[in-house]
């Protein structure tokens, strides 16, 4: 028999009909875009985000995907800069990676927020702490799964009441989060009858903290509150230790005793206390499974706070995609509002009013575990206390 085009067409139709899997297009993958700081003073934080997101995506794909969808992740470097975050976020969103997550600096998240509708994207904050993300700059397409500054303040207030130091100094970064945190601590201290003798904000990427340290010494403050992260936190702690400041002035902070920073500082961090947003020692079933899987993939390590927060972002996103049955950003966003998600912290509600995920928050100190300096939790604040009700500043637009 001579083969002609008609025979070929008929054959192809038969094969297709016999194997329905071939006729149906595979489900659209979950495309996650991560515009994050892979270099610069926040480079270490961005690389922690990358490690956790890769971990979540690989685990999901190895288990056959999420609701039959493969997970694809693309990263672009923002250097921790708001202008670059906006640029890289746009590139990712317009190339189809429109489920955006995990910038580092709050200014980056705030720069991305207003563009989401135009880009047809959503953004999930996993690291940004400025209250405005879920406050006056909130919008229908922006979500947060990590602890904002207001939650950290809710932890600080009861802790501060137990402290004997009456005079305080504040050292924070000259960033949206730094100012937010500094002002919140200042307000909390003053409401508790304490005085703030020095309040200073150092530029992002400062190399020499000596003049700031000397001003803290000159202020005569008994306590020091530090809101610095990444390279800034390490450089400050190193120089403050050399000046003898950390031995003389009781030091506490937020993001200051993050796992990797403590690991780098070693003994220099010993005795510092602060807010700990996550610890690998949490005894929830979800966290135990997460830590076990993490240690299998990265032997000899435990997940850091930033890695865990980025991972929670993927947990929420995957469950929302499953619930929505779609990867369209608007559908996924709707599926997130008012939903309770299974997370490593346990069940957590993503509040409808301001798109904030409510999880417990913690306070602790740097101690030595198995010869290694680590943040250790000594106070847990339940989610309903750690997250005061929305104050009405968030009007979900967009």
């Amino acid at each position: 028999m001579k083969l002609n085009r008609r025979h070929l067409l008929a054959g192809a139709t038969l094969i297709t009909a016999a194997r329905p899997g071939l006729s149906r297009a595979a489900k659209e993958p979950i495309r996650i875009g991560v515009p994050t700081a892979l270099t610069g003073p926040y480079g270490d934080l961005g690389n922690q985000v990358k490690r956790a997101t890769d971990f979540a995506a690989e685990a999901a794909n190895a288990a056959g995907g999420i609701d039959g969808r493969q997970v694809e992740v693309r990263y672009l470097d923002t250097e921790g800069r708001a202008d670059l975050a906006r640029e890289q976020g746009e590139k990712l969103a317009l190339s189809g990676y429109n489920l955006l997550m995990s910038t580092i600096a709050s200014g980056e998240g705030l720069a991305i927020g207003p563009q989401l509708l135009r880009w047809n994207a959503i953004y999930i904050s996993t690291i940004n702490k400025a209250d405005d993300i879920t406050g006056k700059a909130c919008n229908r397409r922006m979500f947060r799964v990590n602890h904002p500054d207001s939650s950290d303040v809710a932890v600080v207030q009861p802790w501060l009441k137990q402290q004997k130091q009456r005079t305080w100094a504040i050292q924070a970064g000259d960033t949206a989060w730094g100012h937010n945190s500094g002002m919140s601590f200042s307000r909390a201290a003053q409401e508790d009858g304490r005085s703030v003798e020095a309040e200073q904000y150092s530029p992002f990427g400062t190399n020499d903290y000596a003049p700031y340290i000397q001003k803290i010494v000159d202020s005569g403050a008994e306590g020091l509150w530090v809101a610095l992260a990444g390279r800034d936190a390490i450089t400050f702690a190193q120089q403050a230790r050399q000046f003898g400041l950390l031995d003389k002035v009781f030091t506490a902070g937020v993001s200051f005793i993050a796992d990797n920073q403590v690991k780098t500082l070693g003994d220099a961090a010993k005795g510092i206390v602060g807010i700990i947003n996550y610890s690998s020692t949490l005894d929830t079933p979800g966290n135990q499974a997460f830590v076990a899987a993490w240690q299998k993939k990265y032997p000899g390590t435990t997940p850091t706070n930033f890695e865990a927060e980025a991972y929670v972002g993927t947990e929420v996103l995957f469950q929302a995609v499953k619930k929505a049955g779609s990867v369209q950003p608007a559908d996924v966003g709707r599926a997130m509002e008012g939903t309770t998600f299974a997370t490593i912290f346990g069940g957590a509600l993503l509040r409808k009013e301001d798109h904030q995920l409510m999880t417990p928050n913690y306070f602790g100190y740097v101690g030595i575990v198995d010869g290694v300096a680590k943040p250790i939790i000594n106070m847990t604040v339940a989610a309903d206390v750690a997250f005061p009700p929305p104050n009405g500043s968030c009007k979900l637009a967009g």
């Binding site: 020499d208 010494v217 050399q242 690991k263």
Partner: protein
Amino acid sequence: MLIQILNGLVYGGLLYVLAVGLVLIFGLRRVVNFAHGSLFMIGAYVGYTVTAVAGFWAGLIASVCVLTAIGAALDRFVFRPLQDEDPIVTMLVTFGLLLVLEDAARTIWGKEFLTVQPPAILSGVVHLAGTSFPVYRLAVIGAAILVAGGLSLWLRFSRVGLYVRASSVDPLTTGMQGVDTDRLSAMVVAIGAGLAGLSGTISAPLVALSPSMGGSILIDSFVVVVTGGLGSFTGAFIAAMVIGQLHNLGVVFVPAAASMIPLVLMVLVLIWRPGGLVKAGA
């Protein structure tokens, strides 16, 4: 206030040791070397690696030696072949080198921040004006004075120093007088890179090491070089000391504008004296 002045001297001293390398390289090769920040960074990492094995002083020496060798190679394989090209070409190549070296550091030493402890003999504090001041910071001031004094003596009183000064003012005429300017340039670029290595290791106990650490301090160093006068050794010293003080006093008195002050100074100096504070070669 004495402590803040000392702090200004420390920062100024660090800037000087880094910036004078830029001045040397610009003076002889007429190259605005963007890779200088990454040489500083590689110097810090080499110092870190050797310090972990053989102590701080070995780290310091190793860093200077390794960076001097890198500088000699940089001149032989990059600056010399490009010397007749448009300066913008060489500048872009050095910018590319900066990115390559940052990625190389990321591959070799990883992405996590690293720290170096000062040597035991320079640890601790001394009590000055009723307050504590780290001994290591005093040593940084001492190192900057030694570098400034040593370079000054070498440039003023040695035959090679004379050639360097002559070549930085007029390389063509210097070459016509029988001076091998290529060899001279190779030596000077090697010394400039060695100084970047020295400043990297000296800075290591003060800052967190990261592959991008050279970027921000390089900008301050360029401000020093441009304010002092491109190619002027004395100008670099004066500008570094002034900028070190302004940086500190700015934080004390006008914190909101502190990071802007050195840039404002540079603009004012360039309006007043477009060639910088001191003429090239001085």
